[in-house]
């Protein structure tokens, strides 16, 4: 904070200061390098911003308090609407309706724009179409200049943040005043909003009090929020009455009538748009929607998703200037939107209604806040749109924080496939900047099955000095070797999470001779009447459940077991347990020996090339295995890999426009099922009994962690709980936030260890708070992460795969 806030004086002054020429704003490099009188946080390099955010305890506490309460109130407000008004008003139904409306508007943009323009112009509004941020800013500046305006009041507009309008106007002697309380405080602090709906969620009342005190030059309470809020009424009244121009955003542009819809809670939006003689609306083309009826659905979803309100306090509809002498200008901003619209994937991001639900639910966002998790737009959508509005460089750092937990997609009110789009951004970053050398080597090796096999066997021996034969490479086992330069990075990684060791004998070796590698003794009529897993590609992953009935008695089923690298190489005992459970139910299990990594790890790192190689290998190997074994299903006890096999491959080959591989991926997906679903929906649902021993009173108290891929991508929730409680008869104690990510997120846990560690500690604390003795989940990534955390922190809990828990309880 440097300059003082000066109370506004007169409205229209004489000659304006000569305008400082500024370079066009588009393109990250200019934004980052541009030094101005009003620096904002993104001028700092990403790493620095991240460091700062990680030190900000206040922010983290605020965000961590907010998240669970938002989740609960949001869920309740949607549930009560559905309970009162029926399924047409469920979240699922409404968001699918709004998605259709927005998709229509995106597809028919030209037509809707023409309609909007015709109606708005007939009502007296003036429309300007701005191709770039610079165009939009210049238009507004020139309008001020023409009218001799030097004081502008603003109500919240994210587009003006996007175009950096305030900076543009300030550099040219025009004073913009943000009138939304949070935006104003951010403006006083020379910051940007860290959240699209709650701009200063990262600030404490003490910080706000100090900022107001400094800006106004008189003492404002550091503790009394009501007093702080009262200040804004007095201060801004003067601005409202003196300003020559009011600038607002738009939540929707209603084409049928040329109407601007705008939502606020404070009431500043109505003042900004009513009191000054000139009203300028800034809106992206993405705000178009066809009709009032559709706008009502948006209204419902927006308020409920953003703040769990039924509706905001003020919802305003403006159609042209309302009084004689009033001017209304509507600046339609493109600034990268056409490019998004031309991209078959990214055009889906244009549906966004800026509710910030994707930030509210995001675990890494809660750790670092919106100045880091995003650029000017924060949250998951910020990671997606930043490259289009501000360049790939601006998006490179923030996107690396995504843990691919997929939670954002479950709450998005317009069904934007955010996690996939973030991975698409990641792969563009990799294309632009290249893969870090270590990843390049690792993925290169993993894509070559024989080399990978050799490498793992080599490391299973090479790790011995660090693991000393234990199951972990931990601070204890490393001992003083941690001081060696080559070992130091490993020691650092193991400090908070002991690392797993490679099994000396991988699963593929352990099952040798026990399972038929391919052929099958009993013939199966599989294929025709067997119900396949759902076609995920058709819609949202949340809406499906695996099919219940199995065509033949479960005792005659044959399955191919797909291990996944983690189970195969690190945790063969989990695979053995899964196979033991399946066989105990009379299922014949085969193990295709040529199976290799599915490619998920490369995909998650933005390395599409290696992922494609591994995808093709995997499809070929599994097709062959199915052919030879006539298996009914391919079962994986790794839900992450199951998601890759059933969803990611399809998207990948769609993108690459390889119809033959796409067809093969789709056919394969029909056969793949995760372990918990198979046990619950195929075996147990068809009357198969697990031979469970009578509980002998041993103190097995279970708490269950819903892995992100299981709950957010496969829609699993009841399966494991049913097995644990009803079938095994064990006590299950639900932990708080069981469905929140554990922080693993693939290589994110290595690149951003601090963030990952904090999320993990929340998870372990929640698990521990139940008093459970066993923490169970069904995804080895989480298991590796949580086990390592338990080991490093000396906690007492056992961490088991669901299959291991079941296997332990078998007779």
């Amino acid at each position: 904070m440097s300059s003082k806030y000066e109370p506004p004086t007169g409205g229209h002054k004489g000659p304006l200061p000569t305008s400082a020429p500024l370079p066009p704003l588009r393109g990250a490099q200019q934004v980052v390098s541009e030094e101005t009188a009003n620096p904002t946080n993104e001028n700092q390099p990403f790493e620095e911003r991240l460091e700062e955010a990680l030190r900000d305890e206040n922010m983290r506490r605020a965000l961590e308090r907010f998240a669970p309460s938002w989740r609960t109130s949001r869920r309740d407000v949607f549930a009560s609407e559905e309970a009162d008004y029926g399924p047409d008003y469920s979240f699922a139904h409404m968001r699918s309706a709004l998605r259709k409306s927005k998709d229509y508007a995106i597809e028919h943009q030209a037509e809707l724009i023409a309609q909007f323009k015709a109606q708005a112009e007939a009502a007296g509004a003036i429309i300007y179409e701005a191709h770039t941020a610079e165009d939009a800013n210049r238009y507004i500046y020139e309008l001020c200049q023409r009218k001799g305006i030097d004081l502008v009041v603003k109500s919240k507009t994210m587009v003006s943040e996007e175009t950096e309008l305030n900076r543009y106007l300030e550099a040219r002697g025009i004073k913009p005043v943000e009138t939304d309380l949070g935006e104003w405080v951010a403006q006083l602090a020379h910051e940007r909003p860290s959240h699209m709906v709650m701009p200063i969620i990262h600030k404490t009342r003490q910080q706000v009090g100090a900022l107001l005190t400094e800006a106004l030059g008189r003492e404002i309470s550091r503790e009394n929020v009501a007093e702080q809020v009262a200040v804004i009424r007095v201060e801004h009244r003067k601005s409202f009455l003196n300003a020559g121009m009011g600038i607002s955003g738009a939540n929707a542009l209603i084409a049928e009538s040329g109407t601007v819809m705008m939502l606020t809670n404070e009431g500043n939006g109505r003042l900004v748009t009513s009191l000054p003689p000139v009203h300028v609306v800034m809106a992206g083309y993405d705000k178009l929607i066809g009709t009032f009826a559709e706008a009502m659905t948006q209204l419902r979803l927006l308020a409920r998703s953003a703040t769990a309100q039924q509706i905001t306090s003020y919802t305003t509809f403006i159609t042209g200037p309302a009084t004689p002498g009033k001017e209304m200008h509507i600046v339609l901003v493109d600034n990268g939107r056409s490019e998004m619209r031309a991209d078959p994937r990214f055009k889906e991001a244009l549906r966004c209604i800026r509710c910030a639900a994707c930030a509210n639910i995001c675990p890494p966002y809660q750790q670092v806040g919106g100045h880091v998790f995003g650029y000017i737009y924060s949250g998951a959508i910020g990671l997606v749109v930043t490259p289009f509005h501000h360049g790939i460089e601006a998006g490179a750092g923030p996107q690396s924080l995504c843990v691919s937990c997929n939670a954002c997609e479950t709450v998005c009110p317009v069904e934007i496939p955010l996690p996939n789009l973030i991975l698409d951004v990641r792969s563009r970053v990799v294309e632009a900047k290249g893969l870090p050398w270590l990843k390049k080597v690792i993925f290169g090796v993993m894509a070559r099955p024989r080399l990978f096999n050799l490498a793992v066997r080599f490391f299973s021996l090479a790790q011995l000095p660090l693991s000393r034969g234990s199951h972990y490479i931990s601070t204890r086992s490393i001992g003083i070797l941690g001081r060696l330069p080559g070992v130091r990075p490993i020691a650092k990684l193991a400090r908070w999470r002991s690392l797993p060791t490679f099994a000396t004998k991988p699963l593929r070796d352990r099952v040798k001779g026990q399972l038929s590698p391919s052929s099958r003794s009993t013939t199966s009529q599989a294929g025709t009447e067997r119900p396949g897993p759902p076609r995920h590609q058709q819609g949202m992953s949340l809406h499906f459940a695996w099919p219940r009935p199995a065509p033949s008695p479960p005792s005659r089923l044959t399955v191919c077991y797909f291990a996944g690298c983690m189970i195969d190489r690190l945790y063969p005992e989990m695979g053995e347990a899964a196979i033991k459970v399946l066989r105990a139910c009379g299922v014949q299990v085969t193990f295709p020996r040529k199976q290799n990594c599915c490619g998920l790890i490369a995909l998650n790192s933005g390395d599409r090339a290696d992922c494609v190689t591994m995808a093709r290998q995997t499809i070929t190997v599994l097709e062959q295995a199915l052919e030879e074994s006539k298996a009914d299903y391919i079962i994986g006890a790794t839900t992450s890999c199951v998601v890759t096999l059933t969803q990611d491959y399809i998207r990948l080959f769609e993108d690459l426009q390889q119809p033959e591989w796409l067809r093969r991926a789709q056919a394969l997906a029909e056969k793949v099922m995760d372990f918990a679903s198979f046990v619950d929906h195929v075996l147990l649902a068809n009357g198969m009994k697990l031979p469970v021993r009578k509980s002998d009173g041993d103190d097995v108290i279970v708490t269950y962690h819903d892995s992100c891929q299981s709950i957010n991508c496969l829609g699993l929730r009841s399966e494991a709980r049913h097995i644990i409680q009803d079938v095994l008869g064990l006590e299950l104690r639900e932990m708080p936030q069981s469905d929140v990510c554990c922080g693993f997120g693939g290589s994110t846990s290595i690149e951003h260890g601090d963030v990952s560690e904090r999320i993990m500690n929340n998870k372990l604390n929640n698990a521990e708070s139940t008093g459970a003795t066993v923490l169970v989940t069904d995804n080895p990534g989480c298991l590796m992460h949580l086990r390592g955390g338990v080991d490093a922190s000396g906690r007492k809990m056992r961490v088991l795969h669901l299959a291991q828990l079941i296997a332990e309880q078998l007779e």
């Binding site: 009162d84 008004y85 029926g86 047409d88 109606q119 007939a122 009502a123 009138t179 939304d180 309380l181 949070g182 405080v185 709650m198 200063i200 969620i201 600030k203 404490t204 009342r205 706000v208 929020v225 009501a226 702080q228 809020v229 009424r233 801004h236 009244r237 409202f240 009455l241 209603i254 009538s257 040329g258 109407t259 809670n265 404070e266 009431g267 109505r270 003042l271 009513s274 009191l275 009709t291 009032f292 009826a293 706008a295 009502m296 209204l299 419902r300 309100q309 039924q310 509706i311 306090s313 003020y314 919802t315 305003t316 509809f317 403006i318 159609t319 200037p321 309302a322 009084t323 009033k326």
Partner: protein, 195 residues
């Protein structure tokens, strides 16, 4: 869109508006409305601001002599600055929506609008037959009002409770920039005629 109505419309309206921090009353006629307004703490100074030409308002104009008979001074709104932080303002709404507890204001005149934006307590009169169940029911009227023509309503707002913010530490604070109190009075039809 088909929908079920979960409960009495006014009960739902009141419940929803109250959760947004607003007051509401259902009365049999203008006289009762006047009783509520006159007894309200906002009227302690004995003055209420109304939009220009409110006296000629077909439906609500008749309330002004009734208020005056209670010793209340009626002030017609003028320049925005003159209305700023006036203790009480009165206006009429076109619609009330039970689902959200909202009222629809649709005034082109700036003077009429500032009564609803700048006063400390805003009283809104709305006819009971204009109380509809859902937002969807409001869409048709909004569309009709927004249509180009001499009767076009350029500026419409769904108002749901007083002005509020939770920007600082998510502490809910009422009355940031707009009215601190919103009081909706729903007046039933038969009585309207009598009054």
């Amino acid at each position: 869109m088909a929908h079920s109505t979960p409960m009495n419309l006014f009960t739902r309206f009141q419940e929803r508006l109250s959760s947004a921090g607003g007051e509401s009353h259902q009365v049999g006629g203008l006289a009762e409305a006047v009783d509520i307004i006159a007894a309200h703490p906002a009227l302690s100074a004995g003055e209420i601001v109304v939009p220009p030409n409110f006296a000629q308002h077909q439906q609500w104009g008749a309330i002004l002599p009734l208020l005056e008979s209670k010793g209340i001074t009626i002030r017609q709104a003028g320049e925005p600055a003159s209305v700023a932080d006036a203790p009480a303002g009165l206006s009429g709404a076109e619609l009330a929506i039970a689902e959200t507890g909202s009222v629809l204001l649709a005034e082109n005149s700036l003077e009429a609008r500032v009564v609803t934006m700048l006063t400390l307590t805003h009283f809104v009169l709305v006819s009971e037959r204009k109380l509809v169940p859902m937002l969807d029911d409001a869409a048709d009227l909004l569309q009709q009002f927004a249509r180009v023509g001499p009767d076009q309503r350029h500026y419409m707002s769904l108002v749901t409770g007083p002005s509020r913010t939770a920007d600082i530490e998510r502490t809910l604070t009422i009355g940031v920039q707009g009215p601190k109190t919103l009081c909706v009075i729903i007046i039933s039809d038969q009585q309207e005629a009598k009054a």
